[in-house]
């Protein structure tokens, strides 16, 4: 197991290089000279002045050289200096990342627990009206645009019903867990909705499939209670497809977090990314893309490792 994870981590290194190269190329071949954006335009800059700013921003060297230099520095954790606020990129990211991670982890936990419960309910009551309602809302939320649902939720729950705060991580000067929780109810729910909707379908069909299998029939015929059959025998096997999809849903989660953080004004990395695009903050953009990818890759490795737990038939070697 440990060796397997180590191997996966080693294998993901070329993947991360690929990602860094792609984002580096896209961002750096972009038309529009960031030097113009970040220079003193008031002093009638000469072409030499512009070249000077380019040099300061590290834009004067040929692209391959810049990439190699960048990789060299990134290896030791130096992602360069943000064009915009002239601080180390890593500082800005380490300020915002904890918020994004908290938001995502809470959303994943909340989403998966809810999805499993709803999935079980739908499977147990298969083809009943409860199943149909769950199916319909799953279909609706898996297909509805996140930004739209978020706006509607603010309108209904914050503005009209006045139940929850509209934005932010907490009220100023009050970072008690309850205050933060109140602020996070809407964003977490919105961010988790897609996972809930998608995953509950997988749980439902996985469970239905397992319930038809021989060992479940055997368990049932032994006269075990239905609850015991489901939670002790069937559920674990029916979670296999859930774990598969879990890894694949991570990029979507990061993307969803961009929109959710923006609409709800949370100080996370997604919002930093949107701001960096408008500001042409290249070092920041590359680092954020890479870091999100690292999280996704790690998530996938964890998901793969989780197979071993849910499905003992899989052996890592």
């Amino acid at each position: 197991m440990g060796r397997y994870i180590l191997r996966r981590i080693l294998q993901s290194i070329p993947v991360l290089f690929g990602i860094s190269l792609i984002t580096f190329l896209i961002v750096n071949t972009a038309p529009g000279d960031p030097a113009l954006l970040y220079m003193d335009r008031s002093s009638n800059p000469t072409p030499e002045d512009i070249q000077e700013v380019r040099r300061e921003l590290g834009l004067d060297k040929p692209l391959p050289v810049r990439y190699v230099e960048w990789v060299g520095r990134a290896m030791v954790g130096d992602f360069g200096t943000s064009f915009k606020d002239k601080r180390p990129v890593i500082d800005r990211i380490s300020e915002t990342l904890p918020y994004s991670i908290k938001l995502s982890v809470i959303s994943i936990l909340f989403g998966y627990v809810t999805a499993i419960l709803l999935g079980i309910l739908a499977a147990v009551k298969a083809n009943s009206w409860i199943d149909y309602i769950i199916s319909f809302f799953s279909a609706l939320f898996v297909s509805a645009p996140v930004f739209w649902v978020a706006l509607m939720a603010i309108l209904v729950f914050s503005v009209k019903l006045d139940l929850l705060p509209t934005s932010g991580w907490s009220d100023y000067g009050n970072e008690s867990i309850w205050n933060v929780a109140r602020h996070l109810i809407l964003p977490v729910t919105i961010l988790a909705l897609r996972d809930i909707a998608g995953m509950s379908r997988y749980v439902r069909s996985g469970l239905l499939e397992v319930l038809r299998q021989d060992y479940v029939r055997t368990a049932r015929s032994k006269g075990l209670q239905e609850r015991v059959v489901i939670f002790k025998h069937a559920l674990r096997n029916s979670l296999i497809p859930v774990v598969t999809v879990m890894g694949l849903s991570l990029p979507a989660l990061v993307g969803g977090a961009v929109l959710t953080e923006t609409v709800f004004g949370l100080p996370g990395m997604g919002r930093l990314a949107v701001g960096s695009i408008a500001n042409r903050d290249y070092p920041m953009l590359i680092a954020i893309n890479l870091l999100s990818a690292v999280m996704v890759v790690l998530g996938n490795i964890l998901a793969d490792a989780a197979y071993g737990w849910v499905d003992p038939r899989i052996r890592y070697n």
Partner: protein, 590 residues
Amino acid sequence: MKRHLKLALVFCLTAGLLLSACSKKPTNNPTTPTDSTTPPATQQGQPVKGGTYTVASTGDASNLNPILYQDTGSAAIIDKVFDSMLVRNEKLEFVPRLATELPKVENNGLKWTFKLRNDVTWQDGVKFTSKDVKFTFTAILHPTYTGVRASGLTSLKGAQALRSGYSAVKADIADKKVTQEEGEKKMMDAWNAWVASDAIQTPDEYTVIFNLDKVFAPAMSNLGTRWIIPEHKLKDQLGAKMKDSEFNRAPLGTGRFSFVEWKPGERIVLKANDKWFGGRPNINEYVLKIVPDANTAMAALEKGEVDEAAIEFENFDHFKGNVQNVNVIEWQGLSYQQLTLDLQNDFFKDVNVRHALAYAINKDNLVKNLLMGHGAAAWSHGTPQRWDYNPDVFKPAYNKAKAEELLDAAGWKKGADGIRAKDGKKFAFDLIFVNSSKLYTEAAQVVQSEWKAIGIDVNLKGVDDATLLDLSDAGNPDRKQPAVYIYGWSLGGEPDSTSIWTCEGSFNDIGYCNPKIEELMTKGKETVDQAERTKIYKEIQGILAQDQPYIWLWFANDIVGLNKRVKGPIAGGPQGLDWNIEKWWIEPAK
């Protein structure tokens, strides 16, 4: 919109103004019908000490160092933490702040003497003196200074020569004529010599004397309204080192509020400065809360989560009519928006064509429907809020027939497809705007529709701020496509606009060049007499309107909602709505 404030900021710098006077700058204007004067409710009662005042801001600050920052978000905080020798009041007049009186001008306008207060301390208890003032100016002219303010100081004696010297040495270093070390030493020697010269003198702790190379009318704001930084904190961090200074994240000033904390992307917290020489502000704590989405900000205001938020035009009626806990304050701003014509392009070289394009646009309709009545049509480079405004300029009011007539006469004939053409070339171009702004996006579509009606084929191009700056920049070699750009300028208290309208002006991206304007701009800078200056700038506005290098669109009003618990002498002014925030107070909850 944000970018244009930034653009505007940079412009203000060139004009030698302080950023605070240039950004989102409000004034009360009793002549505008939509203008609402300060609701009397805010003035009732007696000031109470205490409370936290929370402002919703769509953007974060980026650098809180007064000589390095470049954006309005930072300016709003810096304005409260730092002081300048002079500030402008709500009538755009200068009043002393760190100075005891307005400066004494001698030697035919070449010698400016500022007397400073002797009761000012920095927020860490160190005494404020004339050394700090001198330090601020010399820091900006340091050879490796990384900010954008040096060009505003070139009127100081020897400063222009000093900067040219830097450029020469830097070129030599680049050409490897001297080594890096030698070059740097050379520049430092030059700087040290300049610092020791008589350009800025401090005969005693409370007197600063500036000597100029030539008469420079904007010097009052240029020298006086600059925020002063503490020498004792920054003297070891001059030049390039200042870029990475902790000071930029945790500033220390003499101002009304002192810095407490900054959580990037979330909030900035200030607290009342007990020792402020003008008396401690009533409000205990000032919190700038970052709420990037304007709708979310308004919802937060409505719920009482924040005390202040900008209100967009379409929500004015709702807040005015339905929201009990909010006072709506509206005033005409100092900024205008325009259609920027690229005069280097053949399409727009003919002044009659420019007039035709202007006649085709119904500005009143734009104000009524897009600004929802919260603004006024603009006709030239001036603002009714400033003393030099010329209301009697050429005004091409909506007249479609006239527009078509002018185009026909200019040789642009309608083809079979309804599009005008001349010499086989179709009248078709891009209209480029920032599409993160709802207002610009709507205006672009209306303008497209109106120009289409007179036979001009307009292609809309919504871009981000960076791309607009890049596309509209005159230095951009890729700028070959004919295009019109929508953006705006935010004007300050100082009317000099050399950088926009002179042939070589650094913001003259459109290639406008009129010798008469050139002459008047120079005259305007060298004329100290206010009445004389007013005449000059009125004439400039008249000529610009006649030349129509821009099609000026409108002045949009600023609208802000304040929670009713905020009391005090509240009125929009050129320094912003909260220019006198030290006098406000928060009514405790009952």
